[in-house]
Structure formats: C-alpha cells, structure tokens
C-alpha cells in the first residue's frame, strides 16, 4: 500500500464493520419483533381463530385495537 497501509486498511475495515454491523443489528431486531408478533398471533389464534395478516392494519388504527380487545374478552370468557 505504498506506505499508506495504516490509513487505507482501517478506512476500508471500519466501513465494512459499520455497514455490516448496521445490517446485522437491523436483522436481529426484525427477527426478534417477528418472533414476538408470531407468539402473540399464535396466542390469539388459539382462542379465537381469525384470519388476516397482522400487518394488514395500519399501525395503531381502530380495527386492530378492537380486534385485540375482542381476543382479550374471549380469553376471559374462556377462563
């Protein structure tokens, strides 16, 4: 590297570390959230089977909340 190895390699290395690190942390967070959602979904599904993708509703919109509340109610009724 013509005497510049101490500057060139750290530059490239750090770039790869930051880019890979960001990608991996994004994937890890995504997987963790997907797992949690799947668990909640399964919980709800056993009590009151109801189709439809969970991602289908806009975040925080009314039908979502109502549906989950119904799940909770049927849960109480079942117990």
């Amino acid at each position: 590297m013509g005497g510049y190895a101490a500057f060139v390699w750290p530059s490239l290395g750090l770039t790869l570390v930051v880019m890979l690190g960001l990608l991996l942390s994004t994937l890890r967070q995504l997987r963790a959230r997907q797992r949690r959602l799947a668990a909640l979904e399964a919980e709800g599904a056993t009590r009151r089977p109801r189709g439809g993708s969970l991602a289908a509703a806009a975040p925080g919109d009314a039908p979502t909340v109502t549906r989950s509340r119904e799940n909770e109610r049927s849960e109480e009724a079942a117990s």
């Binding site: 590297m1 500057f7 530059s11 490239l12 960001l22 959230r33 991602a55």
Partner: protein
C-alpha cells in the same frame, strides 16, 4: 405514492423486492471494492492513499442523500400524515448517521497522510460534522417523547430545518477554499477524475445506495411490526 403508504402493501412489495436488491448490493459492493483495491491505479500525487476515496466519497454522498430523503419523508409526514413517511425517516437516520460517521473518520484517516492533520475546522469538515450531529439529534428526538407522534413531529421539523446544511456542505469547498478539495465528479463541466478511478468510484457508490435501500426496507418492515406490537400491548392494557 398513496398506494405504497398502505403498510400491508408496503410489506408485500418490500418482501418481493428485497432479495433482488440484496443480491445487487452484494454484487455492486463486491465488484466496486475489488476494483478500488486491485484495478484502480494509485494516484500520481497521493499514491495508494487515494484508495480511501472509494469508501470516503460514497459515504459522504450517502450521508447527504439520506438526509435529503429524511427531509422529503418528513415533509410528506407533516403535510399528508402518512404513517409510513414517519417510519421511513425513523428507519433512515441511523444509516445516515453511520455514513456521516464513516465520512468523518475515513476523511480523517486520509487527511493525516495527505494534509498532515487529522482534523481542521475547514468549511467542508465542519459542515459534515454538523450533519452528523443533526442525525444524532434526529434520532434522539424520535425517542424523546412518551407520545411517539410528538417525537416524530419534532424530528420532522428538525430534519426540515437542518436541510439547509446540505447546500452548505456541497458548496462549502467553493465558499471557503481552505483545505478540502473542490468537487471533481459533480461539476458543471463534467468530472475531472480519470475514468480508471471514476468507474470504481461510481460502482462502489451504486453499491452504497443499494445497501441503503436494502437496510431501510428491512428497518421500515421492522418498524411496522413494532407498531403492531405496540398496538397489541396497548389493547391488552386497556382490556386488563
């Protein structure tokens, strides 16, 4: 745009697009880095140290591009109240901060052998540092309020105010000609950089852009799931 603002449709499209973008990212970065290291010639003045350019310049372009993307998303969020626009801004700023950080550090590593200094309060360097702080402020504001919507609003306003910094970064090298060299690619009279260096640079830059698309799609997807989880938690709390 409205068609993509539907979260379910967004997730569906993202899932369909992601494999292709991911493969294209890997290919462009692989070819780009290979050319940067083994094909591109050393500079006649800077020698091998010029290879830092192939990560420094694309990082700087991305840091600026992502900030503009955040500003556009923020405007859309403030005007049309698209929930996806807020999430796009939120998903983008850590990536932009990463690139701003890389720009500063690789610039420092390049500046030391070429300029004889790690840092100088030059117009370009200082405005890039401000961009990095804007990203940090944006990320902090996003999480600063219990009411998430307030955080999103505050962050969106910061993003829009801060966009003034982008032309300042771009033209800093012309306004305050102190240390950083002026533009050699995006010039009115065309690039002044030799094709043997321009091509590896452009291919790497495309790889960086594709990388951003890949990661931001994954992050928006992740944010949508997080929003669902929050809604479910809230419903549980209300029900109990």
């Amino acid at each position: 745009m409205h068609r993509f603002a539907n979260p379910a449709r967004f997730t569906r499209i993202a899932d369909r697009v992601l494999p292709f973008v991911a493969v294209a990212t890997a290919a462009a970065l692989g070819v780009g880095f290979y050319m940067a290291l083994f094909v591109a010639p050393p500079d006649y003045q800077q020698g091998e140290s010029v290879r830092i350019m192939y990560v420094h310049v694309p990082s700087a372009w991305m840091a600026m591009f992502i900030y503009v993307a955040i500003a556009v998303a923020s405007a859309v969020a403030l005007i049309w109240r698209h929930p996806l626009a807020d999430l796009a801004a939120k998903a983008s700023s850590p990536i932009g901060a990463g690139f701003a950080f890389l720009t500063l550090v690789t610039g420092s590593l390049w500046g030391r052998p070429m300029w004889g200094t790690w840092w100088e309060w030059d117009g370009r360097l200082t405005s890039m540092l401000i961009l990095f702080f804007l990203y940090l402020g944006h990320m902090a504001l996003m999480h600063a309020f219990d009411d998430q919507q307030r955080g999103y609003r505050a962050a969106a306003i910061l993003a829009l105010v801060g966009v003034i910094n982008i032309p300042i970064i771009k033209f800093s090298v012309d306004w305050w000609a102190t240390l950083h060299q002026p533009a050699s690619v995006f010039r009115l009279d065309g690039p002044t950089i030799h094709p043997s260096m321009l091509w590896p640079l452009l291919i790497t830059a495309v790889g960086f852009k594709l990388y951003y698309v890949t990661v931001v799609l994954l992050r928006i997807k992740s944010e949508l799931i997080a929003a669902r989880l929050r809604a479910l938690d809230l419903a549980r709390l209300k029900a109990s």
